[in-house]
């Protein structure tokens, strides 16, 4: 009995040691989500979006985004001719509305995926809630050791079906992602930079400042720069279609 207890304690110690050395995939994801707006009481940020499709350079877009978990509302600030247009997402539902429009127009999940930066990219990231994660190994990205996680969508409201995600071992932030279809076909790759920081729960944590997305199927890319980031509680009424005036 005594020997058995010692063995068990030793086993537990070993297990905790392993856990310390390599946290589980879900907790890695939860930590990395915070650096992209997930798991916070709410976030308000401005996004500057520059896109290129082949030689054609699109106009710069500027958006004011308010997000809580998987709900978000993005208001267009630029270009000026689209100013005031809003894209609201609640769960898997999306609507487009703008000043003077007679009634909001529903947007299908397929439309939300169109363009280089889908609505899922501009909203807060909640990979821990939206995806099953499996640890796939360790690799370095630009010399930085990273956990490699394979993510599979838990439900239809997830923006992508599968993601391969590289999370920095030291900083616990996502530095690279590959977005894939159900069949595993590569759709887009993304790189992330974290030159900002936010105060949350008395701690200062790194926060995403730039996301560069490259299309894997055509010669196109988008760069999103995140600024004026504020962690704040956003009222549920901000996501109520009947109060969008």
């Amino acid at each position: 009995m005594h020997t058995s207890l010692k063995t068990s304690l030793l086993g537990l110690l070993l297990l905790s040691g392993v856990a310390y050395a390599a946290p589980d995939a879900h907790s890695i994801l939860t930590s990395s989500d915070q650096a992209r707006g997930g798991g916070l009481p709410g976030i308000v940020w401005e996004i500057k979006l520059n896109s290129r499709d082949g030689d054609k350079v699109d106009e710069t877009q500027r958006l004011l985004v308010k997000a809580v978990d998987e709900s978000s509302v993005a208001e267009v600030l630029e270009p000026v001719r689209s100013k005031g247009s809003k894209i609201l997402q609640v769960e898997r539902n999306m609507w487009l509305t703008k000043p003077g429009l007679s009634k909001p127009i529903p947007i299908s999940p397929r439309q939300r995926m169109s363009g280089q930066a889908s609505n899922g990219d501009i909203a807060a990231t909640n990979y821990a809630g939206d995806y099953e994660a499996q640890m796939s190994g360790n690799e370095s990205v630009d010399g930085e050791p990273c956990y490699v996680l394979d993510l599979k969508a838990k439900h239809k409201r997830a923006t992508y079906d599968k993601i391969r995600y590289w999370v920095s071992v030291k900083r616990l932030v996502g530095v690279k992602a590959e977005f894939m279809s159900v069949s595993g076909k590569l759709l887009k790759t993304a790189r992330f930079e974290y030159d900002s920081s936010i105060e949350h729960d008395g701690k200062r944590i790194p926060f995403v400042s730039k996301m560069s997305i490259r299309d894997a199927l055509i010669d196109a890319e988008s760069v999103m720069e995140f600024g004026s980031v504020r962690v704040k509680r956003v009222a549920a009424s901000e996501f109520d279609l009947g109060q969008m005036q």
Partner: protein, 402 residues
């Protein structure tokens, strides 16, 4: 109304006096557009254009502004519109200048999840494009005419939003906004609305009781079947305040009911998104307030018998003449920022009339866009779609001001 709004504004401003972080913004669009209509020479309802006096040519200059000021708990919005319109009618050219508030609102967060708002608001909802049966106020929802500006209802409302998925609204509609007619059907209306949004679906129920009219009940819902397909429906049950009865027997005369029997209107629709983001929409509408094929034929026969009856027929016509309609839409990707187009086809299954419409908008520069809209009706003068005109074309430009 203005006292309620002013009181709200004063309370709100006082409450947030300590907050200095008011955000203010404005934007606006300058429109210039011209419309030409080809009227039917043989119109039954509007012979020689003597009854409706429709302008064959209309030139419009318009400024539509959006003004916003908001703090943490208060939001003020206003949409003033200034219009100069020159119309060429039978008697000659007329010019009308006007300025009005199309919409405005003062909204105050009274407590956690509870907002109080007063203003002029477009109370419109549901996914339907052709008509909105679930809205008591905006059956004709304006989607078929992209240039049309719906004017809001003067409303005081209380909205409880306990979470992202649910909201409950109690509203008092004081009047029909700017364009209140002699008999304002919606003066002093109580409105109750509840909404639920879930994973890939949204539903809402509405009940409204106007002082002058029987209760209205409506329901709307939408569900995403997969990433490409969405199904939706809207339904309304109402009594019409004025109902022109058109017996199928032509020998009988028109009669006017001051309140129609309670009737239901149902719209079912589906939208499918193509790989590049374009979408196809199909809608079927059944409006039991409309006429049957025989009743509609009798309606036109009576109207043809004298200008007086034509005037009565036109002035008191039901909101849609027929009962059954098919509406198809093919439109570009709504998420594109550099242009938009849509094609619309409507067929009255009651009288067999057809209407084809189109709208296109293209970006000329960061601030300037050009647009055109056209409607072509094919059919006879005793079919609803082609009863007044055969063609309408509008071309224009719009300039973003700020």
């Amino acid at each position: 109304m203005r006292y309620i709004a002013l009181s709200l504004l004063i309370v709100a401003a006082t409450a947030s006096a300590e907050e200095s972080n008011w955000n203010t913004s404005w934007d606006g669009t300058l429109y210039g557009y011209a419309n030409a209509m080809t009227l039917r020479a043989d119109s039954v309802l509007n012979p020689s254009n003597q009854i409706a006096d429709i302008a064959k040519r209309t030139d419009t200059g318009e400024v539509r502004l959006n003004i916003k000021a908001e703090s943490e708990d208060v939001r003020f919005t206003a949409r003033p519109i200034l219009t100069v319109r020159n119309q060429r009618k039978t008697a000659g050219a007329t010019q009308k200048n006007e300025g009005y508030l199309s919409q405005w609102q003062v909204r105050v967060r009274a407590a956690e999840g509870l907002n109080v708002a007063a203003g002029r608001e477009v109370l419109n909802w549901g996914a339907a494009q052709f008509r909105s049966p679930s809205s008591p106020f905006y059956f004709d929802n304006g989607r078929s005419d992209p240039m049309r500006e719906l004017v809001g209802m003067d409303t005081v409302k209380l909205t409880w939003t306990p979470d992202m998925q649910r909201s409950f609204t109690l509203a008092r509609v004081l009047s029909t906004g700017r364009v209140a007619s002699a008999v304002d059907e919606w003066r002093n209306t109580w409105l109750l609305k509840a909404d639920q949004r879930g994973d890939g679906y949204a539903v809402g129920v509405v009940a409204a009781k106007a002082a002058l009219n029987a209760a209205f009940y409506g329901v709307h819902g939408q569900a995403s079947i997969d990433d490409e397909t969405m199904l939706y429906a809207e339904m309304g049950s109402s009594e019409q305040l004025v109902a022109l009865q058109s017996p199928a027997d032509v020998a009988q005369a028109f009669s006017v009911l001051s309140a129609s029997p309670r009737r239901n209107t149902v719209l079912v629709g589906a939208t499918y998104t193509l790989p590049e983001g374009q979408s196809l929409i199909a809608e079927y509408l059944r409006d039991n307030n409309g006429y049957t094929t025989a009743q509609e034929a009798a309606y036109f026969s009576r109207a043809a018998s004298s200008p007086a009856l034509a005037g009565q027929a036109l002035g008191m016509a039901p909101r849609l003449l027929g009962r059954d309609y098919l509406h198809l839409v093919w439109q570009s990707n709504l998420m594109e920022s550099e242009g938009y187009w849509r094609m619309m086809y409507t067929r009255s299954l009651t009288d067999g009339g057809n209407e084809l419409g189109g709208y296109g908008e293209t970006t000329l520069s960061e601030r300037v866009s050009a647009f055109a809209t056209a409607v072509v009706s094919s059919g006879k003068s005793n079919q609803e779609a082609s009863s007044l005109f055969s063609r309408s074309v509008t071309v224009g430009v719009k300039v973003a001001l700020h």
